[in-house]
């Protein structure tokens, strides 16, 4: 008997949205709702198992094939990259990457090399590389909005959802980088070796979105 299909979920909002979707599909998620501190939980009739992980780890587990599927934000995919199939846009967790600056500043003015603070250095580097523009990138772990306020950087590249945090700190979106939403990813070998089981689940999810 093969192990259940393992799905790695990004803890937090994406986890809740995915569980909501599973329940709409008729999968019993009681174990996930009442998980306590457990990290591996059965779903439905036991043919599916949910693994709760941090966003970056979802990609790592799927890449190595210890999880067959994963639900992770496009933001993490763009930052981490890697070898996996990106099967579906799940539609939830929608937001965007944007370049934000202090209100009223023209980011592109002047000759000086700009400094950008970001939690997503790879996304930032690629964005400016595509523009052929040299920038200094500073990696910040916490609230990135602080960097321009403290005059460490000229701008930030970060996830923007409603823009409220930016507004409250006197920043504004200067340019959109790209849209973000939750994605369903799959290990390349699992997709081949467990094609029927995975495709059955995936088409269930697809039809859920088609009827939504």
């Amino acid at each position: 008997m093969q192990r259940p299909i393992r799905i790695a979920l990004t803890k937090g909002r994406l986890e809740k949205d995915t569980v909501g979707m599973f329940e709409q599909l008729g999968l019993d998620c009681t174990a996930v709702r009442e998980k306590g501190r457990k990290l591996i939980l059965p779903v439905g009739d036991g043919s599916i198992e949910v693994v709760l992980a941090k966003a970056n780890d979802v990609i790592t587990y799927v890449e190595h094939g210890v999880c067959d599927l994963g639900v992770v934000g496009k933001d993490t995919i763009l930052e981490m990259q890697g070898k996996f199939y990106e099967l579906l846009d799940l539609g939830f967790g929608r937001c965007k990457f944007a370049l934000a600056v202090k209100k009223g500043t023209d980011f592109y003015s002047g000759y000086g090399v700009k400094t950008i603070a970001s939690k997503y250095p790879n996304v930032t580097r690629r964005f400016f590389e595509a523009k052929g523009m040299d920038v200094d990138i500073v990696k910040i772990e916490g609230s990135v909005e602080l960097a321009p306020l403290l005059e460490l950087s000229d701008g930030i590249v970060d996830i923007v959802e409603t823009g409220t945090t930016l507004k409250e700190n006197g920043l504004e979106v200067f340019e959109d980088v790209c849209p973000i939403s939750a994605r369903l990813i799959a290990n390349t070998v699992s997709m081949k070796l467990r094609q029927q089981e995975l495709e059955a689940l995936i088409s269930k999810i697809e039809s859920y979105f088609a009827n939504k």
């Binding site: 290990n187 390349t188 081949k192 070796l193």
Partner: protein
């Protein structure tokens, strides 16, 4: 202070005892299988000039190659691939040799993998290259060898066939920039349906864009061929599809349908493949174990225009899978049958006695202890059945030299 003198570089490691045995077993099995098919081994240098791998199609990103310079300041790399150096040898020293050439190899490649991803930087590969024929029989021979190689590595294998030419055939009919073509290719290879749809939505809807949307979904068993035939009518596409189908049929005649799959959406960007592509998987490993295909233009890049096909098996991956299935104890060195203990002055006698026993096929170890008592304790602790003391038999024994 030598900060790094007790660890191995990231992505490399020491292999001990049982793991080495397993590795050699797999290597020998594969080597036996290749030589039984008339393949001759060649060894190319670990160090090559950077230029060898700096090809037009950029299959080897420079940031993933280990680079160093020679005494003249020329840029060298640790070989990141085995097929390209073999193409170089074919186009140079083997140019005068008759075709076809059947070559096999068993050597390491080095790639800089992303940090902390748990991937190996040094990978041992065993593979074959069949050079000088673009016939169907050549493809079939290579696929049959690949199936045997997979079988030698595990029972739960899957072999997948594809063709690198599908993409080109479809793209020829689509007038978009090269850059956009490559992006579309990446989306298909990564089965990134949402991004692919977004990209194709920007183009006028046509049969080609419809076919491209379907391509990444076309993988599985025989049913794939009918689905593919239904979505695309282009002559070039049809021809490739029929060719792949007939290869698949030929292969399943001797290998059965269960383990032989197809994926029409297989289109690695960074490759020299021009026709058939194959990938092999073992259940329990999240990446491919075997990969290969037809590369008819690579050797021509070295100035010798001959078609070729081949594949390589990732030995490290196979070792990982097999040792997971039947865990090998991490510290189990080989045990001896006999421990020979020599009294002072009898050392030469002991060496002779050991030689005699080894000639009879025994594994014989010399005791390094001073007393016979300690030798017996050592034998008991290491599971050695017999202790043979040598002390009085030889004439020179006991005499101080």
């Amino acid at each position: 202070m030598n900060k790094y003198d007790r660890i191995t570089p990231e992505g490399t490691r020491d292999a001990l005892f049982a793991e080495c045995t397993l590795r050699r077993q797999i290597e020998n099995r594969l080597n036996g299988l290749f030589t039984a098919r008339g393949y001759s081994e060649i060894i190319t240098p670990t160090l090559e000039f950077y230029d060898v791998f700096n090809r037009d199609a950029q299959p080897f990103p420079q940031e993933q190659m280990y680079k160093l310079t020679d005494a003249k300041g020329r840029l060298m790399v640790l070989r990141p691939d085995n097929t390209v150096p073999i193409a170089r040898v074919c186009a140079t020293r083997l140019r005068a040799a008759g075709l076809p050439l059947r070559l096999c190899y068993q050597q390491n490649i080095h790639v800089i993998s992303p940090s902390l991803k748990g991937r190996d930087d040094e990978i041992s590969q065993a593979g074959i290259e069949l050079i000088g024929s673009d016939s169907r029989m050549a493809d079939l021979e290579v696929v049959a060898a690949a199936i045997d190689a997979l079988q030698a590595c595990g029972e739960e294998y899957t072999l997948e066939l594809g063709n690198a030419a599908f993409f080109r055939a479809l793209m020829q009919q689509l007038s978009v920039s090269e850059e956009l073509k490559e992006t579309i290719r990446d989306c298909i290879e990564a089965k990134n349906y949402p991004a692919l749809n977004d990209l194709l939505d920007t183009l006028p809807e046509s049969d080609i864009t419809k076919a491209l949307r379907m391509l990444p979904r076309l993988f599985g068993g025989e049913e794939v061929f009918d689905k593919a035939a239904a979505i695309c009518s282009g002559d070039a596409f049809r021809a490739i599809l029929n060719e792949l189908r007939s290869l698949w049929q030929a292969v399943t005649q001797f290998a059965g349908k269960e383990r032989i799959k197809v994926d029409l959406g297989m289109m690695p960007r960074t490759d020299y493949y021009t026709g058939m592509i194959l990938r092999g998987y073992l259940s329990g490993y999240g990446d491919e174990i075997l990969s290969g295909g037809r590369y008819d233009n690579l050797i021509a890049e070295f100035g010798y225009d001959v078609p070729a096909t081949g594949f390589a098996v990732n030995i490290d991956a196979v070792v990982k899978v097999l040792s997971k299935q039947a865990p090998v104890s991490p510290a189990a060195p080989q045990t001896s049958n006999v421990l020979i203990w020599a009294a002072k002055g009898c050392e030469s006698e002991a060496v002779k006695a050991a030689q005699d026993l080894r000639a009879k096929g025994m594994v014989v170890e010399h005791s390094l202890t001073d007393t016979l008592e300690d030798a017996k304790k050592y034998a008991a602790a290491h599971g050695i059945a017999t202790v043979l003391p040598i002390d009085i038999s030889g004439t020179d024994c006991g005499k101080e030299v």
